[in-house]
Amino acid sequence: MRTVSAPARKLEHGRVGESVLRVDAIPKVTGEFAYSSDLFAAGMLWGHTLRSPHAHAEIESIDISEAVSMPGVHAVLTHEDVPGKKLYGLEFADQPVLAINRVRYFGEPVALVAAEHPEQARRAAEKIQVQYQPLEPVVDPERALEQEDLHPERPTEEAGYFNDPRSNVVRTIVIRHGDPDAEGEVSVSGVYELGIQDQAFLGPESGLAVPDGEGGVDVYVATQWLHVDRAQVAPCLDLRPEQVRIHLAGVGGAFGGREDLSMQIHGALLALHTGRPIKIVYTREESFVGHVHRHPARIWMEHRANHDGKLVNVRVRILLDGGAYASSTTAVTSNASSFAQGPYAVANALVETTSVYTNNPPCGAMRGFGAVQVCFAHEAQMDKLAAELALDPVDLRLRNAIAQGDILPNGQRITGSLPVAEVIRRCAALPVPEPEALPRDAIRLPGGAGNVTRGEGVKRGTGFAVGFKNICYSHGFDDYCAARVRLFADASGELGAEVHCAAAEVGQGVTNVILQVARTELELENITLAPHQTATVDSAGSASASRMTWMASGAVQTACRAAREELESRGGSLASGDEVDVERVYRHPQTWPLDPETGQVQGERAHVAFVCSAMKAVVEVDTELGLTRVVWIGTAQDIGRAVNPQAVYGQIEGGTAQGLGLALMEEIQTRDGLITNASFTDYLIPTALDMPPVDAVLVEEPDPDAPYGAKGVGEPPTVVATAAVVAALRDATGLELTRAPVRPDHLAGLTA
């Protein structure tokens, strides 16, 4: 037996706080990275999903007899073939695995086919005879409150929420703060509207389900939370949790759209039914109905203030369209309520938020999660108020900026870091580039490659926006993250470590975060991250709510420290063949739910912590054609502490692009509940020509509760970008522009 001492190689690089190249950077750029759509297993069959062409219909009958006899077909399944629970859902089990007697949205899964070739599966699906009796779709969220209940069993009713008797309510929150009738010396109000934004990830929903021959199944899938997938999949298959093993496959973008299940249960059903591995890859068109979207919103706001600019009372009414199933609508509702007044201190407030079921596309999690919609509204209001009071809009925001010790309308006192005034000041101080001289190449003008202007009709505008949101799950949710660390002596006798954490790498860079934390804590170079899976480590929670850096850092730090203690208790070295293997769970500070009547938090915190961001946008608008070039964006973002600064800048740019997209072009269009632009030809996302350079300032004020003081960074840029860009459009055009995305005909003044 040989004894080794640790560590043999001195750690040179890659600690917390250093810019580190993403571990998947080169394979992704060179096209070698294996995404979930690249999976392959010997003998696999292809699964295909038959979907509803109606937004709302009764299913009178389903006849699969012709389909099962088609060439290459191994299975055709309907809801009758679901062996366990027939319903599932992220928070409320209100969604059928396969439609039962009724479909509630366009694209709802009705039946499954497994065949040897995907084309055979598609052709067989066409031969499934489904007799529909179309019903009037519920498509106007305001009318939904009076129309027939789409879910008469009211699945969210017993969850401890405000009891709202109106039809189709998913959740209503009423927050009363101070004197909700308090008057100010001036008042401004407005109604704001946002369309449905899609995550538009490039990797379509896809995965591989492999039967284990003993009744269980392994599912390889692009997802955001492995363990919550298992918790939904196993009951529907009538299996014990350990019989279902979820493995993370290469994720081609998520942005919230992979929180809900897509092909997981379907693939597993087909795999268990046929005894063969099943691969399912959605087409692009299918992907638009294969995941939830950002909630479209109608928001009324009234801001009452005094002549000195101090906010007196903010009154808000928000209506969110949740679509056909609950998904995470209840949590989006609470987020929209929490952040409705913006990052401002206000003594009085009344916030009423209602989300409803309709037959529109289901909505759920998307980057910004309720905060994007309200930021668009509250920042428009702050500009309106500044104009009313003849105050500088930045000064007005500074005058009202919330700070430590202030109380939110839900009763929570701000305790951790929240440098709102600092991000406002730092962002406002960023120098705006001078206008470029004319003539210019068309691609540096509004309309870009379209060559429509040489400067005619072009006006410049600047907009400013501030926003904030929570980090981690809120309102009493038992939010935790596990990590497991193995220390061992490797073949050359050197001390090595293997880290297990089920945190989903969705492109946000958590893999690097985990490795940087482990290197920092273990002072080791030789560290590997084991594949993400449910079988070898407990839950990491979701790659959502800008929480994964915070939570994974906490878990890996705790587990690494426990491993080091264990190593030290053994004399600081390991014999070859020996190992240390510890798993630890990290929990963030506790949160409490809101009182269903008053909307006040029932304990110290409703949210764990907050993060804020300020953004300034410069646009040029061709005011005659209504086309826009965003010239420049400057931003100051509160990040606590940058674990990997290079990755932080990347997140800020990506998040900004997504918010810019909602401002200018990204909208799922529907007619009577049917999606009319399910393609990247007609659902437009910004190209490199649409995205300006971003000057980002990182405001590092470590959060006392966060491991290393590091907050999440993924959502804040998206929260503020839509508001900032539209504010700049207003400045350029003088138009009110109360709806996002702003269409060219709005900007050209052709439609209100």
């Binding site: 692009r284 691609i443 309309g447 490659a449 060559n451 005619e456 086309l627 020509l689 649409d690 052709l750």
Partner: protein, 262 residues
């Protein structure tokens, strides 16, 4: 699905007459989208990308003969001086990758109301050269385009080339879309001011069932924007409204006149 790949034009024409249901394909930038979205399942594809006779362009007396396989990238690079509006239009097509693959013949074959090369070719009075095993014929582009995604090509014919006698007139192309690159036109316009003939010539895209030519004497410049807007027959769809399209044509024509007839 069969893929037929002739190496010569004669072989292609023979295959075309034997397999009239086969879809001609060259760069594939339209056809593959149709197939990927499962909008059509043609029994076969007739792959024209290996036929040398369709490539490139040539000059015959005063006339340019643009091969059906001429890519947008080639139009952009080679035709900037002789057919500037076509070169500008080629720059607006998709992305550089699409411009490398997509061809003039494909744009004509698809005959989309939004086909970017069509308005500049209309303005220049282009003729489409069609061929079959029975022989050749030429059809003015105006007559070739008969409806949305419909044209005068017969089931046994292939588009071989486009013939244009460059006017030398000042001309431009403009395309409106809600994104600054990679968009299908919400409205487009090619315009030339032909001083020799004393004529203003404009053609719009995405504002009617087919791209359409509108002409007027140079002297009627003042009313020309209105005339183009009135000639259009736009509709409301997911990409834009009829009102916006008509408005955009008015603005584009006014600006194009500034560029070409100032």
């Amino acid at each position: 699905m069969d893929v037929l790949t002739p190496r010569t034009l004669d072989e292609a024409l023979r295959l075309r007459s034997e397999h009239p249901d086969a879809w001609p394909i060259d760069g594939g930038t339209d056809v593959l989208v149709e197939l990927n979205f499962d909008r059509a399942r043609p029994p076969a594809l007739l792959n024209l990308s290996e036929i040398r006779e369709l490539k490139g362009w040539s000059r015959e007396n005063g006339t340019l003969r643009l091969g059906a396989g001429l890519t947008y990238t080639q139009c952009r690079q080679d035709l900037r001086d002789v057919l500037p509006a076509l070169a500008e239009a080629s720059r607006t097509v998709g992305s550089p990758q699409i411009q490398n693959r997509g061809t003039l013949g494909g744009n004509l074959g698809t005959s989309s109301p939004a086909g970017d090369s069509l308005p500049p070719l209309l303005v220049e009075g282009a003729e489409v050269e069609l061929a079959s095993v029975r022989g050749e014929r030429r059809v003015p582009l105006e007559e070739f385009l008969v409806g949305p995604k419909r044209n005068a090509m017969l089931a046994n014919e292939l588009i071989v080339a486009v013939r244009v006698s460059p006017s030398g007139a000042r001309q431009t192309f403009m395309k409106v879309g809600p994104r600054n690159a990679m968009v299908i036109a919400v409205a487009s316009l090619a315009l030339s001011a032909d001083r020799e003939r004393g004529e203003l010539r404009a053609a719009y895209g995405s504002a009617g069932p087919v791209p359409k030519l509108v002409t007027a004497p140079l002297a009627e410049r003042a009313s020309f924007a209105e005339r183009v807007a009135e000639a259009a027959q736009p509709i409301d769809d997911v990409r834009g409204t009829a009102v916006y399209r008509r408005h955009a044509l008015r603005v584009l024509t006014t600006r194009a006149l500034e560029r070409c007839a100032a």
